[in-house]
Symmetry: C2
Subunit: 96 residues, 2 copies
């Protein structure tokens, strides 16, 4: 049974964490663009990481297209998920 | 100078490739969820890949959240980009 839409607005001063049902999120997400600002002059943004170049045992790569350090993750997905009810997160690339 | 909105509708029978200006795409993308259907029962989808998981020299990982083989890329970004005017593509993880 799908969760009904719950519209409780938190009183946090800056980001209003609006809880929306996952179904509403799915419907809105399906036909919209994803990338607001990264390399918009390029037809398709493809990045390559070679495991030997990793400077740590495990490195997080962005999948929410809002990181200031793209293609690396900087945690921007937390704010995006809170603002839209989404559930995206990074790809962790590990040496071992 | 930003490209003006060009509304030429291709005559392709199935997907109508609507060309919209990159600025219109950026504005629509910024506040919408990204992931329509992947693991919506999970609060944050984080995947890990390590070198021993790579069965080829270079493997493509999805960043458009529409691949049937998620977290792996299956080319679903092509249809998404054509339908929304977006420019997303995969992360290629290479052994060397």
């Amino acid at each position: 049974m799908l969760a009904t839409t719950a519209r409780s607005v938190a009183l946090a001063p800056r980001t209003a964490a609006v809880r929306v049902s996952r179904r509403a999120v799915a419907v809105r997400a399906s036909s919209e663009p994803i990338n607001p600002s990264i390399k918009k002059d390029v037809d398709k943004v493809v990045d390559t990481v070679s495991i030997k170049d990793l400077d740590k045992p495990k490195v997080a790569y962005c999948r929410c297209w809002r990181s200031d350090t793209f293609p690396l993750c900087n945690g921007a997905h937390v704010k995006h998920n809170a603002a839209t009810g989404d559930n995206v997160g990074p790809l962790l690339v590990a040496k071992e």
